[in-house]
Subunit: 205 residues, 2 copies
Amino acid sequence: MNILSKHIEAAVEQVGSLPGIGKKTALRLVLHLLRRKPEDVEKFSVAISRMKENVRLCSVCHNLTDHEICGICSSPYRDKTQICVVADIRDVMALEATEQFKGLYHVLGGVISPLDGVGPAELEISSLIDRVSRENTKEVIMALTPSMEGDTTAFYIYRKLEPSGVNISMLARGVAVGGELEHTDEVTLGRSVLQRTPYTPSLIK
Amino acid sequence: MNILSKHIEAAVEQVGSLPGIGKKTALRLVLHLLRRKPEDVEKFSVAISRMKENVRLCSVCHNLTDHEICGICSSPYRDKTQICVVADIRDVMALEATEQFKGLYHVLGGVISPLDGVGPAELEISSLIDRVSRENTKEVIMALTPSMEGDTTAFYIYRKLEPSGVNISMLARGVAVGGELEHTDEVTLGRSVLQRTPYTPSLIK
């Protein structure tokens, strides 16, 4: 691409370095920003630097927060005896959106994946074990993606937590609500038969 | 979405305000930036503010540039007797990428589109007429999108330039190179028969 302005080229390069954004899209976004009012563009770039400067990880659950301890860990309304283990902050958001879980979280920062060079030491696993032994935890809920890596990570944590005697549970696996049986994959459908649950009309409505 | 950090929320809102980027993608991009080194994020936001501060329109052709006059207008290697009229700076880039045109450009900043409230006065049309009468222009090439709006704009400019006696040409319309005849739309295919050109082996190779 032949861009006549060094400044536009620099901006396109930066925007194009974001995942899933190619050179053409980057140029389109940059030209869009160029058409905006200067104060709006300033707002845009300030929001991004300010975020990087101020956001940190909660010292308890490793969720992202503006403070030392995140809003969930410091809330008096959450059940501190339950810890839900997730891989990523986006999983926290997804679970919070359901409004069905009132306990605390623990964000691992990924899952064990030897191919990507991620072992247990790279994840917040030992801090989870510490937390469970130190706090009055009654239940640890594994909310990891049902993949090879997610399952491996869950199993690793399970083995580490077993001696503590804490209850360990996992997200239910089965047919998705609204999903069609014929399009559900065999493994999921098979599991949903094996792990069938008592018929509960209130959950179906 | 329940985001625990006001700073992340502000950044997601800004990124999500870009065209074609929804809330979920914005969050993904922001979380990606969060994982980068602080100096890289600084580079990102500085590139964008610096671009907005420094980039302006070339006072001759209204192309984007870092200087008073753009690199094409100020180049001694360009043919100053030809002006190629385009709607947008991206059209300049597309034409420059072909390396087939060595004249100057004139960026209108859009096309006449009454539905969007864009009339001739909103575009750089009078500055084009001025330029043609003032400079030693021999040919004006209309390189506008072959749409209702593009054609209307070209015709408007044609009528304004006609008295000056300058040569007015337009981009060739026809079958796209590499395109299949059966998939070419009727209007284009019809035009390509009516406006057939002498067989030139060198253009086909």
